[in-house]
Symmetry: C2
DNA sequence: ACTCAACGTTTACGGCCGTAAACAATTAGA
DNA sequence: TCTAATTGTTTACGGCCGTAAACGTTGAGT
């Protein structure tokens, strides 16, 4: 019995709206619009479009409380990241996580402490590995 | 003095053409078209379009040798993967490799041997870290 | 010299995405 | 009750992408 369907696809611009909602929920339209207007240099109309599209694809919902509309995310950050990761992993590495790690390790410089952290994560994974 | 510009953006469909060329170079148009026709169920025209677009964006080049056209990649697989990785890393994790690793480790199951392999890679990185 | 096949080039078209204007509805306050 | 502000909805438009038809060129063989 499958309950959770795949989260809807959230585009990069739309994700800016979601990021706000993942930080604090709910937000009013004014809050969302004014913040993104600054940060992203978007017009109000543009932001309204994204809110509308996100609503249509059921990534957010809103309630009206008097004159204010309150926005809530319906897709969690984790669902979003997970879906994006999966899709990238499949596209680029045919699902082979090992390959992905190897490539990133080869390309990106990691500080010693980052490496230590990863080693600890791997150790934990080895034991409790869920 | 900058010599290498960023590689052009190669879309998913286009990458199917590139994959062939990364396996064996050069290839003739017939080879490319007939292979993708089967594998991808694309029409000849579609494949020609991709060849053309890839050429326009300088991801491939071709030579005419008599009646045959020979295709060569201009973008290497490594450049392609590297650019895609960078772009994904920036988009999703703001460039923080550590975060990316943590998320993938959390989500994907790794076999014990894969974990061992990664640990070795990390060890090597720690010492010789290029 | 002419024709057919092998290729490249141009044009097209619907869908998604970033961007935004214009229109509609509703409600708090004058 | 009228108005202005707040917010949602509809429509638009150019660019990229997947998909493909139509057209043009050139060279090998007749």
């Amino acid at each position: 019995m499958k309950i959770l369907n795949n989260p809807p696809h959230i585009t990069e611009a739309e994700s800016e709206v979601m990021k706000l909602l993942w930080q604090k929920e709910p937000l009013t339209a004014i809050e969302i619009i004014s913040k993104l207007k600054d940060q992203m240099d978007w017009s109000d109309q543009t932001i309204k479009t994204f809110l509308n599209r996100l609503h249509k694809k059921k990534a957010i919902r809103f309630e009206k409380s008097g004159r204010n509309y309150l926005y809530y995310p319906l897709v969690t950050y984790d669902e979003y990241v997970k879906a994006a990761n999966r899709s990238f992993l499949d596209r680029m590495y045919n699902g082979a996580v090992g390959m992905l790690f190897a490539k990133f390790l080869e390309e990106e410089k990691l500080s010693e402490s980052e490496i230590d952290q990863l080693q600890q994560l791997l150790e934990k994974k080895k034991k409790g590995g869920s």
